[in-house]
Protein backbone atom coordinates (compact mmCIF):
# COMPACT_ATOMS: atom_id res chain seq x y z
CA UNK A 1 0.00 0.00 0.00
CA UNK A 2 2.76 2.42 0.91
CA UNK A 3 4.68 1.52 -2.24
CA UNK A 4 1.68 2.12 -4.44
CA UNK A 5 1.14 5.46 -2.75
CA UNK A 6 4.72 6.56 -3.33
CA UNK A 7 4.56 5.52 -6.97
CA UNK A 8 1.37 7.52 -7.46
CA UNK A 9 2.80 10.50 -5.63
CA UNK A 10 6.06 10.33 -7.60
CA UNK A 11 4.18 10.57 -10.90
CA UNK A 12 2.96 14.04 -9.94
CA UNK A 13 6.04 16.23 -10.60
CA UNK A 14 4.55 19.41 -9.16
CA UNK A 15 3.68 17.62 -5.94
CA UNK A 16 7.21 16.32 -5.61
CA UNK A 17 8.56 19.83 -6.16
CA UNK A 18 6.12 21.09 -3.51
CA UNK A 19 7.32 18.40 -1.11
CA UNK A 20 10.97 19.27 -1.70
CA UNK A 21 10.29 22.98 -1.16
CA UNK A 22 8.48 22.20 2.08
CA UNK A 23 11.49 20.21 3.24
CA UNK A 24 13.85 23.05 2.31
CA UNK A 25 11.68 25.50 4.25
CA UNK A 26 11.93 23.25 7.27
CA UNK A 27 15.69 23.06 7.07
CA UNK A 28 15.93 26.82 6.63
CA UNK A 29 13.63 27.52 9.55
CA UNK A 30 15.53 25.21 11.88
CA UNK A 31 19.01 26.29 10.80
CA UNK A 32 18.28 30.05 10.77
CA UNK A 33 20.45 30.81 13.85
CA UNK A 34 23.41 29.11 12.19
CA UNK A 35 23.16 30.32 8.59
CA UNK A 36 21.85 33.86 9.08
CA UNK A 37 24.67 36.37 8.55
CA UNK A 38 23.39 38.69 11.33
CA UNK A 39 21.17 38.63 14.38
CA UNK A 40 17.63 39.55 13.25
CA UNK A 41 17.58 42.73 15.33
CA UNK A 42 21.19 43.79 14.73
CA UNK A 43 21.16 47.37 13.54
CA UNK A 44 23.76 48.45 11.01
CA UNK A 45 23.65 52.23 11.40
CA UNK A 46 25.77 52.87 8.33
CA UNK A 47 23.62 50.86 5.93
CA UNK A 48 20.01 51.98 6.16
CA UNK A 49 17.61 51.09 3.35
CA UNK A 50 20.41 49.79 1.21
CA UNK A 51 19.75 47.65 -1.86
CA UNK A 52 21.09 44.08 -1.99
CA UNK A 53 24.87 44.06 -1.76
CA UNK A 54 27.68 41.73 -0.74
CA UNK A 55 27.38 42.83 2.86
CA UNK A 56 23.58 42.47 2.94
CA UNK A 57 22.49 39.98 0.23
CA UNK A 58 18.83 41.02 0.34
CA UNK A 59 19.38 44.61 1.43
CA UNK A 60 18.53 46.35 4.71
CA UNK A 61 15.37 47.90 6.14
CA UNK A 62 14.66 51.39 7.43
CA UNK A 63 16.45 50.62 10.71
CA UNK A 64 19.46 49.09 9.00
CA UNK A 65 18.56 45.48 9.82
CA UNK A 66 19.59 42.72 7.42
CA UNK A 67 16.56 41.54 5.42
CA UNK A 68 17.97 38.06 4.70
CA UNK A 69 18.51 37.37 8.39
CA UNK A 70 15.06 38.64 9.29
CA UNK A 71 13.47 36.47 6.59
CA UNK A 72 15.37 33.39 7.76
CA UNK A 73 14.28 33.93 11.38
CA UNK A 74 10.78 34.80 10.20
CA UNK A 75 10.50 31.42 8.46
CA UNK A 76 10.55 29.70 11.84
CA UNK A 77 7.84 32.01 13.17
CA UNK A 78 5.59 31.54 10.15
CA UNK A 79 5.97 27.78 10.07
CA UNK A 80 5.53 27.26 13.79
CA UNK A 81 2.38 29.37 13.74
CA UNK A 82 1.21 27.28 10.76
CA UNK A 83 1.90 23.97 12.43
CA UNK A 84 0.61 24.71 15.90
CA UNK A 85 -2.54 26.35 14.53
CA UNK A 86 -3.22 23.46 12.15
CA UNK A 87 -2.42 20.89 14.83
CA UNK A 88 -4.97 22.53 17.10
CA UNK A 89 -7.63 22.90 14.42
CA UNK A 90 -7.16 19.29 13.27
CA UNK A 91 -7.45 18.03 16.82
CA UNK A 92 -10.64 20.00 17.47
CA UNK A 93 -12.03 18.98 14.09
CA UNK A 94 -11.34 15.28 14.67
CA UNK A 95 -12.96 15.34 18.11
CA UNK A 96 -16.15 17.11 16.97
CA UNK A 97 -16.35 15.21 13.68
CA UNK A 98 -15.82 11.85 15.36
CA UNK A 99 -18.45 12.51 18.02
CA UNK A 100 -20.96 13.76 15.46
CA UNK A 101 -20.37 10.90 13.01
CA UNK A 102 -20.22 8.11 15.57
CA UNK A 103 -23.14 9.00 17.79
CA UNK A 104 -25.35 10.62 15.16
CA UNK A 105 -28.87 11.77 16.05
CA UNK A 106 -29.32 14.88 18.15
CA UNK A 107 -25.60 15.14 19.06
CA UNK A 108 -24.74 15.15 15.37
CA UNK A 109 -27.36 17.77 14.59
CA UNK A 110 -26.19 20.12 17.35
CA UNK A 111 -22.52 19.84 16.39
CA UNK A 112 -23.16 20.27 12.67
CA UNK A 113 -25.38 23.32 13.21
CA UNK A 114 -22.59 24.78 15.35
CA UNK A 115 -20.21 24.11 12.44
CA UNK A 116 -22.60 25.92 10.10
CA UNK A 117 -22.72 28.90 12.45
CA UNK A 118 -18.92 29.01 12.67
CA UNK A 119 -18.64 28.80 8.88
CA UNK A 120 -21.06 31.66 8.40
CA UNK A 121 -18.85 34.05 10.39
CA UNK A 122 -16.11 35.66 8.26
CA UNK A 123 -13.08 34.09 9.93
CA UNK A 124 -10.64 36.90 9.36
CA UNK A 125 -12.86 39.52 10.99
CA UNK A 126 -13.57 37.19 13.87
CA UNK A 127 -9.83 36.79 14.36
CA UNK A 128 -9.30 40.57 14.18
CA UNK A 129 -12.00 41.15 16.77
CA UNK A 130 -10.68 38.52 19.16
CA UNK A 131 -7.10 39.78 18.78
CA UNK A 132 -8.34 43.28 19.60
CA UNK A 133 -9.61 41.90 22.93
CA UNK A 134 -6.85 39.49 23.95
CA UNK A 135 -3.94 41.39 22.46
CA UNK A 136 -1.55 40.25 19.77
CA UNK A 137 1.04 37.64 20.64
CA UNK A 138 2.37 34.62 18.80
CA UNK A 139 0.56 32.20 21.13
CA UNK A 140 -2.75 34.02 20.88
CA UNK A 141 -2.48 33.94 17.10
CA UNK A 142 -1.82 30.20 17.03
CA UNK A 143 -4.75 29.48 19.30
CA UNK A 144 -7.15 31.81 17.53
CA UNK A 145 -6.34 30.50 14.07
CA UNK A 146 -6.72 26.98 15.46
CA UNK A 147 -10.14 27.48 17.01
CA UNK A 148 -11.54 29.26 13.98
CA UNK A 149 -10.49 26.82 11.26
CA UNK A 150 -11.46 23.32 12.45
CA UNK A 151 -14.85 23.13 10.71
CA UNK A 152 -13.61 21.62 7.45
CA UNK A 153 -11.83 18.82 9.30
CA UNK A 154 -14.91 18.16 11.42
CA UNK A 155 -17.03 17.76 8.30
CA UNK A 156 -14.48 15.45 6.67
CA UNK A 157 -14.14 13.23 9.72
CA UNK A 158 -17.89 13.11 10.22
CA UNK A 159 -18.45 12.02 6.63
CA UNK A 160 -15.79 9.32 6.92
CA UNK A 161 -17.26 8.09 10.19
CA UNK A 162 -20.77 7.94 8.76
CA UNK A 163 -19.62 5.64 5.98
CA UNK A 164 -17.30 3.59 8.22
CA UNK A 165 -20.01 3.08 10.83
CA UNK A 166 -21.86 0.58 8.66
CA UNK A 167 -18.76 -1.16 7.31
CA UNK A 168 -18.54 -4.82 8.20
CA UNK A 169 -15.27 -4.65 10.13
CA UNK A 170 -16.75 -2.04 12.43
CA UNK A 171 -19.89 -4.12 12.92
CA UNK A 172 -17.73 -7.16 13.63
CA UNK A 173 -15.84 -5.20 16.28
CA UNK A 174 -19.16 -4.23 17.86
CA UNK A 175 -20.27 -7.85 17.76
CA UNK A 176 -17.09 -8.79 19.62
CA UNK A 177 -18.13 -6.34 22.32
CA UNK A 178 -15.40 -3.73 21.74
CA UNK A 179 -16.02 -0.42 23.51
CA UNK A 180 -16.99 2.76 21.63
CA UNK A 181 -13.58 4.13 22.54
CA UNK A 182 -11.80 1.16 21.01
CA UNK A 183 -13.92 1.20 17.87
CA UNK A 184 -13.32 4.91 17.35
CA UNK A 185 -9.58 4.86 17.95
CA UNK A 186 -8.58 1.46 16.60
CA UNK A 187 -10.99 0.99 13.71
CA UNK A 188 -12.51 4.22 12.53
CA UNK A 189 -9.90 6.96 13.04
CA UNK A 190 -7.00 5.17 11.33
CA UNK A 191 -9.23 4.58 8.33
CA UNK A 192 -10.38 8.19 8.08
CA UNK A 193 -7.03 9.96 8.39
CA UNK A 194 -6.09 10.21 4.69
CA UNK A 195 -8.36 13.18 3.87
CA UNK A 196 -7.51 14.74 7.24
CA UNK A 197 -3.80 14.71 6.43
CA UNK A 198 -4.50 16.34 3.07
CA UNK A 199 -6.62 19.03 4.64
CA UNK A 200 -4.00 19.62 7.35
CA UNK A 201 -1.28 20.19 4.75
CA UNK A 202 -3.52 22.60 2.86
CA UNK A 203 -4.42 24.17 6.20
CA UNK A 204 -0.80 25.04 6.94
CA UNK A 205 -0.75 27.15 3.78
CA UNK A 206 -3.79 29.13 4.81
CA UNK A 207 -2.57 29.50 8.40
CA UNK A 208 0.74 30.93 7.13
CA UNK A 209 -1.26 33.34 5.00
CA UNK A 210 -3.49 34.42 7.92
CA UNK A 211 -0.47 34.92 10.17
CA UNK A 212 1.26 37.03 7.52
CA UNK A 213 -1.86 39.12 7.02
CA UNK A 214 -2.25 39.70 10.75
CA UNK A 215 1.39 40.62 11.17
CA UNK A 216 1.16 42.92 8.17
CA UNK A 217 -1.73 44.70 9.85
CA UNK A 218 0.27 44.95 13.05
CA UNK A 219 -2.02 42.55 14.92
CA UNK A 220 0.19 39.52 14.59
CA UNK A 221 3.75 38.86 15.63
CA UNK A 222 4.99 42.07 17.22
CA UNK A 223 8.21 43.80 16.23
CA UNK A 224 11.07 43.57 16.88
CA UNK A 225 10.40 39.83 16.47
CA UNK A 226 10.65 39.22 12.72
CA UNK A 227 7.85 37.67 10.72
CA UNK A 228 7.28 37.79 6.98
CA UNK A 229 4.16 39.81 7.52
CA UNK A 230 5.77 42.55 9.61
CA UNK A 231 8.79 42.79 7.29
CA UNK A 232 6.25 43.55 4.58
CA UNK A 233 4.76 46.31 6.72
CA UNK A 234 8.13 48.00 6.83
CA UNK A 235 8.34 47.47 3.10
CA UNK A 236 5.00 49.13 2.46
CA UNK A 237 6.17 52.43 3.95
CA UNK A 238 9.22 52.48 1.72
CA UNK A 239 7.97 50.72 -1.38
CA UNK A 240 8.89 53.59 -3.68
CA UNK A 241 12.54 53.64 -2.65
CA UNK A 242 13.23 50.09 -1.39
CA UNK A 243 11.59 47.36 -3.51
CA UNK A 244 13.64 44.59 -1.85
CA UNK A 245 11.86 45.11 1.43
CA UNK A 246 8.53 44.04 -0.10
CA UNK A 247 9.55 41.66 -2.83
CA UNK A 248 11.63 39.15 -0.85
CA UNK A 249 9.27 38.46 2.08
CA UNK A 250 6.39 38.49 -0.41
CA UNK A 251 8.12 35.87 -2.50
CA UNK A 252 8.73 33.76 0.60
CA UNK A 253 5.03 33.81 1.49
CA UNK A 254 4.12 32.98 -2.10
CA UNK A 255 6.53 30.06 -2.34
CA UNK A 256 5.53 28.65 1.04
CA UNK A 257 1.81 28.78 0.36
CA UNK A 258 2.28 27.42 -3.15
CA UNK A 259 4.47 24.53 -2.08
CA UNK A 260 2.08 23.46 0.70
CA UNK A 261 -0.80 23.61 -1.75
CA UNK A 262 1.06 21.57 -4.35
CA UNK A 263 2.07 19.01 -1.74
CA UNK A 264 -1.46 18.84 -0.35
CA UNK A 265 -3.06 18.37 -3.72
CA UNK A 266 -0.49 15.75 -4.69
CA UNK A 267 -1.23 13.85 -1.48
CA UNK A 268 -4.93 14.05 -2.12
CA UNK A 269 -4.59 12.65 -5.62
CA UNK A 270 -2.33 9.85 -4.45
CA UNK A 271 -4.46 8.94 -1.42
CA UNK A 272 -7.88 9.10 -3.02
CA UNK A 273 -8.49 6.12 -5.29
CA UNK A 274 -11.61 7.67 -6.79
CA UNK A 275 -9.66 10.65 -8.07
CA UNK A 276 -6.90 8.34 -9.27
CA UNK A 277 -9.18 6.49 -11.65
CA UNK A 278 -10.20 9.69 -13.39
CA UNK A 279 -6.67 10.52 -14.39
Amino acid sequence: MAGEFLAQFGKNRLAVIGGILVLILFVVAISAPFVAPYEPDYIDRYHILEPPSRLHPLGTDDLGRDVLSRILYGAGVSLSVGFVAVGLSTLIGIIFGAIAGYYGGIVDRIIMRFVDVMLSIPTFFLILTVIAFVGPSIWNIMIIIGVTSWMGVARLVRAEFLSLKSREFVLAARAIGASDWRIIFRHMLPNSLAPVIVSAVLGVASAVLIESSLSFLGLGVQPPRPSWGNILTAGKANIEIAWWLSVFPGLCILITVLSYNLLGEGLRDALDPRLRERR
Partner: protein, 321 residues
Protein backbone atom coordinates in the same frame (compact mmCIF):
# COMPACT_ATOMS: atom_id res chain seq x y z
CA UNK B 1 -32.63 -27.13 23.11
CA UNK B 2 -33.75 -23.66 22.25
CA UNK B 3 -30.81 -21.29 21.78
CA UNK B 4 -32.09 -18.18 20.06
CA UNK B 5 -35.64 -17.06 19.66
CA UNK B 6 -37.20 -13.99 18.12
CA UNK B 7 -40.71 -12.89 18.91
CA UNK B 8 -42.67 -10.84 16.41
CA UNK B 9 -39.57 -8.87 15.46
CA UNK B 10 -40.19 -5.62 13.61
CA UNK B 11 -37.81 -3.12 12.08
CA UNK B 12 -39.36 -0.21 10.27
CA UNK B 13 -37.44 2.59 8.57
CA UNK B 14 -39.01 5.98 8.02
CA UNK B 15 -38.03 7.19 4.57
CA UNK B 16 -38.45 10.88 3.89
CA UNK B 17 -38.57 12.34 0.44
CA UNK B 18 -36.82 15.69 0.70
CA UNK B 19 -37.10 17.89 3.76
CA UNK B 20 -40.80 18.59 3.48
CA UNK B 21 -41.79 15.51 1.50
CA UNK B 22 -44.14 12.84 2.73
CA UNK B 23 -42.49 10.05 4.65
CA UNK B 24 -43.36 6.44 4.19
CA UNK B 25 -42.36 3.33 6.04
CA UNK B 26 -40.06 0.61 4.81
CA UNK B 27 -40.88 -2.58 6.65
CA UNK B 28 -37.54 -4.39 6.61
CA UNK B 29 -38.81 -6.80 9.25
CA UNK B 30 -42.50 -7.18 9.81
CA UNK B 31 -43.22 -9.62 12.58
CA UNK B 32 -40.55 -12.30 12.33
CA UNK B 33 -40.59 -15.15 14.84
CA UNK B 34 -37.95 -17.83 14.48
CA UNK B 35 -36.29 -20.32 16.82
CA UNK B 36 -32.74 -21.59 16.41
CA UNK B 37 -32.09 -24.91 18.15
CA UNK B 38 -28.76 -25.87 19.66
CA UNK B 39 -26.25 -27.53 17.31
CA UNK B 40 -28.55 -27.00 14.36
CA UNK B 41 -28.30 -24.91 11.23
CA UNK B 42 -31.23 -22.60 10.79
CA UNK B 43 -31.21 -21.04 7.34
CA UNK B 44 -32.99 -17.93 6.12
CA UNK B 45 -33.52 -17.68 2.39
CA UNK B 46 -35.09 -14.98 0.29
CA UNK B 47 -34.22 -12.45 -2.36
CA UNK B 48 -32.31 -9.26 -1.68
CA UNK B 49 -34.46 -6.73 0.14
CA UNK B 50 -36.44 -9.38 1.95
CA UNK B 51 -34.99 -8.38 5.32
CA UNK B 52 -32.53 -11.23 5.85
CA UNK B 53 -29.55 -9.06 6.72
CA UNK B 54 -31.63 -6.76 8.89
CA UNK B 55 -32.69 -9.83 10.85
CA UNK B 56 -29.02 -10.79 11.30
CA UNK B 57 -28.15 -7.32 12.58
CA UNK B 58 -31.03 -7.21 15.03
CA UNK B 59 -30.27 -10.68 16.35
CA UNK B 60 -26.65 -9.61 16.91
CA UNK B 61 -27.82 -6.56 18.82
CA UNK B 62 -26.23 -4.23 16.28
CA UNK B 63 -29.52 -2.56 15.34
CA UNK B 64 -32.43 -1.86 17.64
CA UNK B 65 -35.73 -3.33 16.45
CA UNK B 66 -38.84 -1.19 16.20
CA UNK B 67 -40.84 -3.87 17.94
CA UNK B 68 -40.67 -7.42 19.19
CA UNK B 69 -38.08 -9.20 21.26
CA UNK B 70 -35.01 -11.40 20.89
CA UNK B 71 -34.18 -14.06 23.43
CA UNK B 72 -30.85 -15.82 23.80
CA UNK B 73 -30.98 -18.77 26.17
CA UNK B 74 -34.16 -17.35 27.62
CA UNK B 75 -32.77 -13.86 28.31
CA UNK B 76 -34.02 -10.78 26.51
CA UNK B 77 -31.06 -9.63 24.43
CA UNK B 78 -31.79 -5.91 24.31
CA UNK B 79 -32.06 -5.57 28.08
CA UNK B 80 -28.72 -7.25 28.78
CA UNK B 81 -26.14 -5.19 30.65
CA UNK B 82 -22.62 -5.54 32.02
CA UNK B 83 -21.42 -9.10 32.45
CA UNK B 84 -24.54 -10.59 30.86
CA UNK B 85 -23.96 -8.50 27.75
CA UNK B 86 -20.32 -9.55 27.60
CA UNK B 87 -21.38 -13.18 27.90
CA UNK B 88 -23.85 -12.65 25.05
CA UNK B 89 -21.10 -11.09 22.90
CA UNK B 90 -18.91 -14.12 23.56
CA UNK B 91 -21.70 -16.55 22.76
CA UNK B 92 -22.97 -14.99 19.55
CA UNK B 93 -20.57 -14.11 16.75
CA UNK B 94 -20.86 -13.06 13.14
CA UNK B 95 -19.37 -13.76 9.72
CA UNK B 96 -20.29 -11.27 7.00
CA UNK B 97 -20.68 -11.59 3.28
CA UNK B 98 -17.84 -9.42 2.03
CA UNK B 99 -14.47 -10.58 3.37
CA UNK B 100 -12.85 -7.49 1.84
CA UNK B 101 -14.94 -5.12 3.96
CA UNK B 102 -14.91 -7.34 7.05
CA UNK B 103 -11.28 -6.83 7.99
CA UNK B 104 -9.77 -3.53 9.06
CA UNK B 105 -7.25 -2.79 6.28
CA UNK B 106 -4.91 -1.02 8.69
CA UNK B 107 -4.69 -3.81 11.24
CA UNK B 108 -2.47 -6.86 10.95
CA UNK B 109 -4.11 -10.26 11.19
CA UNK B 110 -2.61 -10.61 14.65
CA UNK B 111 -4.19 -7.34 15.78
CA UNK B 112 -7.54 -8.32 14.30
CA UNK B 113 -7.57 -11.79 15.84
CA UNK B 114 -6.17 -10.73 19.21
CA UNK B 115 -8.85 -8.07 19.63
CA UNK B 116 -11.56 -10.43 20.94
CA UNK B 117 -9.15 -11.87 23.51
CA UNK B 118 -8.11 -8.40 24.63
CA UNK B 119 -11.63 -7.00 24.81
CA UNK B 120 -12.74 -9.87 27.01
CA UNK B 121 -9.46 -10.12 28.94
CA UNK B 122 -9.04 -13.76 28.02
CA UNK B 123 -5.40 -13.81 27.06
CA UNK B 124 -2.34 -11.59 26.97
CA UNK B 125 1.39 -11.43 26.37
CA UNK B 126 3.05 -14.48 24.89
CA UNK B 127 0.00 -16.66 25.36
CA UNK B 128 -1.91 -14.29 23.09
CA UNK B 129 0.37 -15.11 20.15
CA UNK B 130 -0.11 -18.83 20.80
CA UNK B 131 -3.86 -18.40 20.97
CA UNK B 132 -3.92 -16.48 17.69
CA UNK B 133 -1.67 -19.09 16.05
CA UNK B 134 -4.00 -21.85 17.20
CA UNK B 135 -6.97 -19.92 15.89
CA UNK B 136 -5.38 -19.52 12.46
CA UNK B 137 -4.55 -23.21 12.30
CA UNK B 138 -8.09 -24.16 13.26
CA UNK B 139 -9.36 -22.47 10.09
CA UNK B 140 -6.68 -23.94 7.86
CA UNK B 141 -4.23 -21.02 7.75
CA UNK B 142 -0.63 -20.94 8.86
CA UNK B 143 0.50 -19.35 12.11
CA UNK B 144 3.17 -17.33 10.32
CA UNK B 145 0.44 -15.48 8.44
CA UNK B 146 -0.43 -13.48 11.53
CA UNK B 147 1.89 -10.57 10.88
CA UNK B 148 0.51 -9.93 7.42
CA UNK B 149 -2.16 -7.44 6.45
CA UNK B 150 -5.57 -8.19 4.91
CA UNK B 151 -4.63 -7.02 1.41
CA UNK B 152 -2.04 -9.79 1.22
CA UNK B 153 -4.74 -12.48 1.30
CA UNK B 154 -7.22 -13.83 -1.22
CA UNK B 155 -10.98 -13.67 -0.70
CA UNK B 156 -11.21 -17.23 0.55
CA UNK B 157 -8.32 -16.75 2.97
CA UNK B 158 -9.87 -13.55 4.27
CA UNK B 159 -13.14 -15.32 4.88
CA UNK B 160 -11.20 -17.93 6.88
CA UNK B 161 -9.70 -15.08 8.94
CA UNK B 162 -13.20 -13.70 9.54
CA UNK B 163 -14.32 -17.14 10.68
CA UNK B 164 -11.28 -17.34 12.95
CA UNK B 165 -12.24 -14.01 14.51
CA UNK B 166 -15.75 -15.31 15.11
CA UNK B 167 -14.35 -18.46 16.73
CA UNK B 168 -11.94 -16.62 19.04
CA UNK B 169 -14.49 -16.27 21.82
CA UNK B 170 -15.68 -19.91 21.55
CA UNK B 171 -19.21 -18.92 20.57
CA UNK B 172 -22.29 -21.10 20.66
CA UNK B 173 -24.08 -19.42 17.79
CA UNK B 174 -22.62 -17.98 14.62
CA UNK B 175 -24.71 -15.66 12.54
CA UNK B 176 -23.44 -16.08 9.00
CA UNK B 177 -24.78 -13.41 6.67
CA UNK B 178 -24.23 -14.80 3.16
CA UNK B 179 -20.74 -16.01 4.03
CA UNK B 180 -20.21 -17.65 0.64
CA UNK B 181 -21.84 -15.23 -1.77
CA UNK B 182 -18.78 -13.22 -2.69
CA UNK B 183 -16.46 -16.21 -3.15
CA UNK B 184 -15.60 -18.35 -6.17
CA UNK B 185 -17.52 -21.59 -6.44
CA UNK B 186 -14.50 -23.79 -5.63
CA UNK B 187 -13.68 -21.63 -2.60
CA UNK B 188 -17.33 -21.73 -1.54
CA UNK B 189 -17.10 -25.49 -1.18
CA UNK B 190 -13.96 -25.21 0.95
CA UNK B 191 -15.49 -22.64 3.27
CA UNK B 192 -18.71 -24.64 3.52
CA UNK B 193 -16.70 -27.71 4.50
CA UNK B 194 -14.89 -25.66 7.11
CA UNK B 195 -18.18 -24.42 8.56
CA UNK B 196 -19.51 -27.99 8.66
CA UNK B 197 -16.35 -29.28 10.31
CA UNK B 198 -16.44 -26.52 12.93
CA UNK B 199 -20.07 -27.27 13.66
CA UNK B 200 -19.21 -30.88 14.52
CA UNK B 201 -16.01 -30.09 16.45
CA UNK B 202 -17.24 -27.16 18.46
CA UNK B 203 -20.95 -28.00 18.69
CA UNK B 204 -21.83 -24.75 16.98
CA UNK B 205 -25.23 -23.57 15.90
CA UNK B 206 -25.68 -21.36 12.87
CA UNK B 207 -28.16 -18.77 11.77
CA UNK B 208 -27.25 -19.11 8.14
CA UNK B 209 -28.45 -16.44 5.75
CA UNK B 210 -28.20 -17.19 2.06
CA UNK B 211 -29.86 -16.90 -1.27
CA UNK B 212 -28.04 -19.94 -2.63
CA UNK B 213 -30.59 -22.71 -2.28
CA UNK B 214 -28.19 -25.50 -3.21
CA UNK B 215 -25.95 -24.54 -0.30
CA UNK B 216 -28.92 -24.25 2.03
CA UNK B 217 -30.20 -27.68 0.97
CA UNK B 218 -26.82 -29.19 1.77
CA UNK B 219 -26.08 -27.35 4.99
CA UNK B 220 -29.31 -26.44 6.78
CA UNK B 221 -31.48 -28.43 9.15
CA UNK B 222 -34.38 -26.04 9.08
CA UNK B 223 -35.22 -23.29 6.62
CA UNK B 224 -37.32 -20.15 6.81
CA UNK B 225 -38.29 -18.42 3.58
CA UNK B 226 -38.55 -14.65 3.89
CA UNK B 227 -40.48 -12.35 1.62
CA UNK B 228 -40.96 -8.62 2.13
CA UNK B 229 -39.91 -8.69 5.76
CA UNK B 230 -42.04 -11.68 6.70
CA UNK B 231 -41.45 -15.38 7.06
CA UNK B 232 -43.80 -16.97 4.51
CA UNK B 233 -42.80 -20.56 5.05
CA UNK B 234 -40.75 -22.51 7.55
CA UNK B 235 -39.94 -26.21 7.44
CA UNK B 236 -37.27 -28.85 7.80
CA UNK B 237 -34.77 -28.49 4.97
CA UNK B 238 -35.52 -31.84 3.35
CA UNK B 239 -39.31 -31.36 3.49
CA UNK B 240 -39.11 -27.87 2.11
CA UNK B 241 -37.02 -28.86 -0.86
CA UNK B 242 -39.08 -31.99 -1.57
CA UNK B 243 -42.45 -30.36 -1.27
CA UNK B 244 -42.57 -26.57 -1.16
CA UNK B 245 -45.99 -25.26 -0.08
CA UNK B 246 -45.87 -21.49 -0.52
CA UNK B 247 -46.01 -20.30 -4.15
CA UNK B 248 -43.00 -18.08 -3.46
CA UNK B 249 -40.94 -21.03 -2.24
CA UNK B 250 -41.90 -22.89 -5.41
CA UNK B 251 -40.81 -19.94 -7.46
CA UNK B 252 -37.46 -19.78 -5.66
CA UNK B 253 -36.85 -23.50 -6.12
CA UNK B 254 -37.77 -23.27 -9.78
CA UNK B 255 -35.28 -20.49 -10.25
CA UNK B 256 -32.36 -22.62 -9.10
CA UNK B 257 -30.33 -23.62 -12.13
CA UNK B 258 -30.11 -27.40 -12.19
CA UNK B 259 -27.69 -29.09 -14.54
CA UNK B 260 -29.73 -32.24 -15.05
CA UNK B 261 -33.04 -30.67 -15.89
CA UNK B 262 -34.05 -30.48 -19.50
CA UNK B 263 -33.77 -27.15 -21.24
CA UNK B 264 -37.55 -26.72 -21.25
CA UNK B 265 -38.00 -26.87 -17.48
CA UNK B 266 -35.18 -24.47 -16.98
CA UNK B 267 -36.70 -21.95 -19.29
CA UNK B 268 -40.02 -22.20 -17.60
CA UNK B 269 -38.35 -21.64 -14.27
CA UNK B 270 -36.62 -18.51 -15.42
CA UNK B 271 -39.70 -17.07 -16.97
CA UNK B 272 -41.69 -17.47 -13.78
CA UNK B 273 -39.38 -15.31 -11.73
CA UNK B 274 -41.06 -11.98 -12.02
CA UNK B 275 -39.95 -8.54 -10.92
CA UNK B 276 -39.40 -8.33 -7.21
CA UNK B 277 -41.79 -6.19 -5.24
CA UNK B 278 -40.33 -4.33 -2.32
CA UNK B 279 -42.42 -4.00 0.80
CA UNK B 280 -42.36 -0.20 0.56
CA UNK B 281 -44.31 -0.33 -2.68
CA UNK B 282 -47.56 -1.23 -1.02
CA UNK B 283 -48.40 1.41 1.55
CA UNK B 284 -51.45 0.49 3.54
CA UNK B 285 -52.49 -2.44 1.36
CA UNK B 286 -54.42 -5.16 3.05
CA UNK B 287 -53.78 -8.29 1.05
CA UNK B 288 -50.92 -10.70 0.68
CA UNK B 289 -47.63 -8.96 -0.10
CA UNK B 290 -46.74 -11.66 -2.62
CA UNK B 291 -49.98 -11.12 -4.57
CA UNK B 292 -48.56 -9.20 -7.56
CA UNK B 293 -46.22 -12.07 -8.40
CA UNK B 294 -48.34 -15.02 -7.32
CA UNK B 295 -49.42 -17.46 -10.02
CA UNK B 296 -51.98 -19.16 -7.75
CA UNK B 297 -53.91 -16.20 -6.37
CA UNK B 298 -57.54 -16.32 -5.28
CA UNK B 299 -60.07 -13.66 -4.42
CA UNK B 300 -59.28 -13.58 -0.71
CA UNK B 301 -55.59 -12.86 -1.36
CA UNK B 302 -56.29 -9.25 -2.29
CA UNK B 303 -58.31 -8.42 0.79
CA UNK B 304 -56.86 -10.41 3.63
CA UNK B 305 -53.29 -10.92 4.65
CA UNK B 306 -52.44 -14.58 5.23
CA UNK B 307 -51.00 -15.40 8.66
CA UNK B 308 -48.21 -17.84 9.36
CA UNK B 309 -50.05 -21.00 10.42
CA UNK B 310 -48.84 -24.36 11.67
CA UNK B 311 -49.17 -27.04 9.08
CA UNK B 312 -47.96 -30.26 10.68
CA UNK B 313 -44.28 -29.80 11.47
CA UNK B 314 -44.05 -26.79 9.22
CA UNK B 315 -45.50 -23.31 8.97
CA UNK B 316 -46.83 -21.49 5.95
CA UNK B 317 -48.47 -18.13 5.36
CA UNK B 318 -50.78 -18.65 2.39
CA UNK B 319 -54.53 -18.84 1.85
CA UNK B 320 -54.10 -22.01 -0.19
CA UNK B 321 -53.46 -24.06 2.94
Amino acid sequence: MELLKTENLKKHYEIKEGILGKSHTLRALDGVSITVEKNRVFAIVGESGSGKSTLARVVLRLTKPTGGRVFFKGKEVFSLKGEDLKAFRRAVQVVFQDPFASLNPRMSIFSTLSEPFKVHGLSSGRRLRDDVAQLLESVGLKAEHMDRYPHQFSGGQRQRICIARALALSPELIVADEPLSSLDVSIQAQILNLLTELKEKRELSYLFISHDLNVVHYFADRVAVMYAGKVVEEAGAEELFQRPLHPYTELLLDAVPKMRLSAGTQQRGHKRVTESVYPEDKPGSKGCSFLPRCPKQKGICATEEPLLKEHGDRKVACHLY
